[in-house]
């Protein structure tokens, strides 16, 4: 359809009487770091779930890497075929699996050869600096360590697009700043296309090439940030 890696065209989603997303259109090119900013309940999480394939739009189209992923009322590409890495707000680490096996589940699912899995998992854990925690279970980790595991799990499958749903919202300010900087470093290192949802202006300043503001389900403004202008 066009050269965008991710494209949303007039996407709408309604839950009962609540208009969650209203005619949202968006173009994301490879390597972009987008921050979607808005108050609670403005539809930003729903937009992320539509991109991931966890919801189906009522109308409009979603395109991924030149292929239509979803149209009005139907999904052409199931979630697991979209090449998405997703960091959930509550992290959703699988409690019955160790850190290593949380990552292995992803690698097995993307059909990575068995021989390469350990090295890839270690690489991802090193990226977020928790390689020593691979044999721990999620409940044995601190909040910050869990965030890093969630990030490693989202990155280990080398996704086309990394989606983050307010992943640092429950952390204390100090840890939040540290992890935000860490994520910015990863973006620069990996050049991964990122869509990050938040209600915090501070996140946008550090993480975004472009800030998209949402209100009541609608995209009301799109702004390039200093980071992009400076080519950071």
């Amino acid at each position: 359809m066009n050269s965008s890696l991710l494209s949303l065209s007039n996407v709408t989603k309604r839950f009962a009487s609540h208009q969650a997303v209203d005619s949202a259109s968006l173009e994301v090119v490879a390597g972009d770091a987008i921050v979607i900013l808005g108050p609670s309940g403005c539809g930003k999480t729903t937009l992320l779930r539509l991109i991931a394939g966890l919801e189906v739009p009522d109308s409009g189209e979603i395109w991924l890497a030149g292929a239509q992923a979803a149209g009005a009322g139907r999904s052409m590409m199931p979630a697991h075929e979209r090449g998405i890495g997703f960091v959930f707000q509550d992290l959703a680490l699988w409690p019955h699996l160790t850190v290593q096996r949380n990552l292995n589940f992803v690698l097995e699912s993307v059909k990575m050869p068995r021989a390469d899995r350990a090295a890839r998992a270690l690489e991802a854990l090193k990226l977020v600096r928790i390689e020593q925690l691979s044999s721990r279970y999620p409940h044995q980790l601190s909040g910050g360590e869990q965030q890093r595991v969630a990030l490693a799990r989202a990155l280990v499958g080398q996704p086309r697009v990394l989606l983050l749903d307010e992943p640092f919202s429950s952390l204390d300010p100090e840890l939040r700043d540290a992890l935000r900087s860490e994520l910015a470093r990863l973006q620069r290192t990996l050049q991964v296309t990122t869509v990050y949802v938040t209600h915090d202006q501070g996140d946008a300043a550090i993480l975004a090439d472009r800030v998209i503001e949402m209100r009541a389900g609608r995209i009301v403004a799109v702004n390039d940030t200093k980071r992009k202008e400076q080519g950071a």
């Binding site: 697991h80 998405i84 509550d90 959703a92 680490l93 589940f105 699912s109």
Partner: protein, 523 residues
């Protein structure tokens, strides 16, 4: 805060005394008596006949647990994760067989499979009679009765799983892989615990093995006591069964942990993982419903139609019907009257003491009915004031208390957990005493739980056979005893009609409860 002089201590203490006397003492006393004759016990165990008994009992329990889980777990998954049509009604209908007395389903089975039964008539020749009265048949019948336990436990376990965990997997893996690697492992403890409970209930069952002529411990205990009048042998036979049930029940309770009384659903979304399987799942649910509920009832109706008149059926059974209704009503009221305080106390007790109480409740509920019966006789059949009670209908009430207080206490503990402690504290600081707080604040908030506990206790009491048949006074009978004892020498149409009457007695209050719950949900 607990204080010795408070009304709370007096009321809960009284409930604990009743619980100990009715539920703990019979089993404890039986164990004590049997352990005092260790030599006879070990001699009994070496007997090849007893080893066969143990084998049959273990096979009945294992086979039923496996088959019931194989039927129930997929239904639980479907109820939790697939948008089935009219799900609330479907769930209620699928759960109904567990409330039927098992011997009623067994009775329908004998009418279906005997040499002149339904299947033989339809096929024009004998198909099933060779194994109508067999161990595999008992496994099938008990699985049909107990699969709802696995279904409901699986559904609850699935609903407790945070949907985000599955969504996080769905982003990288197809639904089948998400189910096998994420959902099922997380739900496994609940499913496994339900299988253990089914094992215990199956090896504790008396009516179905008795009806289908399968030799297991429960039937041998009954035969030793009621036919051979060999009380020592009955006690000794009860011990291996009791130990087996206690071990498995402790394991199940430990697996479930705090989940026995905390039934809150998890936060997060419920991904519709398998909506594309809606049609086959619906079809499967209706097949199970037909086999487990519609077919047995249809067979009984068909048999009953041959009865010449309703008065002929009721002749001789009127007293048993009235007895059943009166005793089940009184029994359910007494059970709830004791269990509500125990449940409240459990809900307000945290830590190991609370978990210990859960294990005790589960273990006591798992004690086979014939063993409870023998324990009650041991305890109450003696000179003095105890003897005055023995030989009266009070023994039946004691039997209901012994069997159903533990499960009612667990259910009411789960209800009481939903009432925040702060509600009581707010009433206390405004000057209300504990009884007033319970009457005005706590009990009104758990009234639906109380109603449900009463109805379940009533239904269970109506169908109770194992204890009743042992402790009922001479000449007195409840409907289950009447049906069970006339099977051999009464026209099948009369037996089927009485079984149907008993089914109606069970389903009418259930339907009323279902309607009350629907009304509340609609509001």
């Amino acid at each position: 805060m607990w204080r010795w002089q408070s009304s709370r201590t007096a009321v809960v203490g009284a409930a604990i005394v009743v619980f100990v006397v009715c539920c703990v003492l019979p089993v404890g006393y039986l164990l004590t008596v049997s352990l005092s004759s260790v030599e006879a016990f070990s001699a009994l165990l070496l007997d090849a006949r007893q080893r066969q008994l143990l084998y049959n009992t273990a096979l009945l329990g294992t086979g039923t647990a496996l088959l019931a889980t194989a039927i129930g777990a997929p239904l639980g998954i479907a109820l939790a994760r697939i948008a089935l049509p009219r799900k609330a009604i479907l769930r209620l209908a699928l759960a109904a067989p567990v409330l039927l007395p098992p011997y009623i389903v067994g009775l329908a089975w004998t009418y279906l499979g005997s040499s002149r039964g339904w299947l033989a008539t339809l096929a024009g020749h004998d198909l099933l009679s060779a194994w109508t009265y067999s161990l595999p048949a008992a496994i099938v019948v008990l699985s049909v009765v107990f699969y709802p336990l696995s279904m409901l436990a699986t559904e609850v376990a699935m609903r407790r799983i945070d949907g985000r965990l599955e969504e996080a997997a769905l982003v990288v893996a197809p639904p089948g892989r998400v189910l096998s690697h994420i959902t099922l492992p997380l739900a496994a403890p609940g499913v496994f615990a339900a299988a253990l409970v089914i094992f215990v209930l199956a090896v504790s069952e008396f009516g179905v093995p008795g009806l289908l002529r399968v030799r297991v411990y429960t039937t041998e205990v009954f035969t030793a006591f009621a036919a051979l009048y060999d009380f020592t042998r009955a006690i000794l036979l009860a011990v291996p069964l009791l130990l087996l049930c206690l071990i498995v029940a402790v394991l199940a309770a430990a697996l479930l942990g705090d989940r026995l009384v905390i039934t809150r659903r998890s936060a997060g979304t419920r991904p519709a993982l398998f909506d594309e399987w809606q049609r086959p799942a619906t079809l499967g649910a209706f097949v199970v419903l037909t086999v487990a509920l519609v077919l047995p009832l249809a067979i009984l109706v068909s048999e009953a139609m041959a009865a010449q008149s309703i008065s002929a059926v009721l002749a001789g059974s009127g007293r048993a019907i009235v007895n059943s209704l009166v005793l089940a009503t009184a029994g359910a009221t007494a059970v709830v009257g004791v269990a509500v305080w125990l449940g409240y106390a459990r809900a307000r007790t945290a830590g190991r003491m609370g978990q210990g109480a859960d294990i005790l409740f589960v273990v006591l509920f798992a004690v086979p009915s014939t063993i409870v019966g023998v324990g009650l006789i041991l305890l109450w059949n003696r000179p003095g004031p105890f003897g005055a009670v023995y030989g009266t209908d009070v023994m039946l009430l004691l039997g209901y208390l012994a069997r159903f207080v533990p499960v009612a206490a667990l259910a009411l503990a789960a209800s009481a957990r939903y009432v925040p402690v702060s509600h009581e504290e707010a009433a206390a600081v405004s000057g209300a005493g504990w009884l007033r707080i319970m009457w005005g604040i706590v009990l009104p908030q758990i009234r639906l739980g109380l109603a449900a506990a009463w109805v379940v206790a009533f239904v269970l009491a109506c169908g109770e056979l194992g204890v009743s048949i042992l402790v009922a006074p001479p000449g007195e009978a409840t409907l289950p005893i009447r049906v069970y004892t006339i099977i051999a020498n009464t026209p099948s149409s009369h037996v089927a009609a009485l079984a149907l009457l008993q089914t109606a007695v069970i389903f009418v209050p259930l339907a009323a409860l279902g309607a009350a719950m629907s009304f509340r949900e609609a509001r």
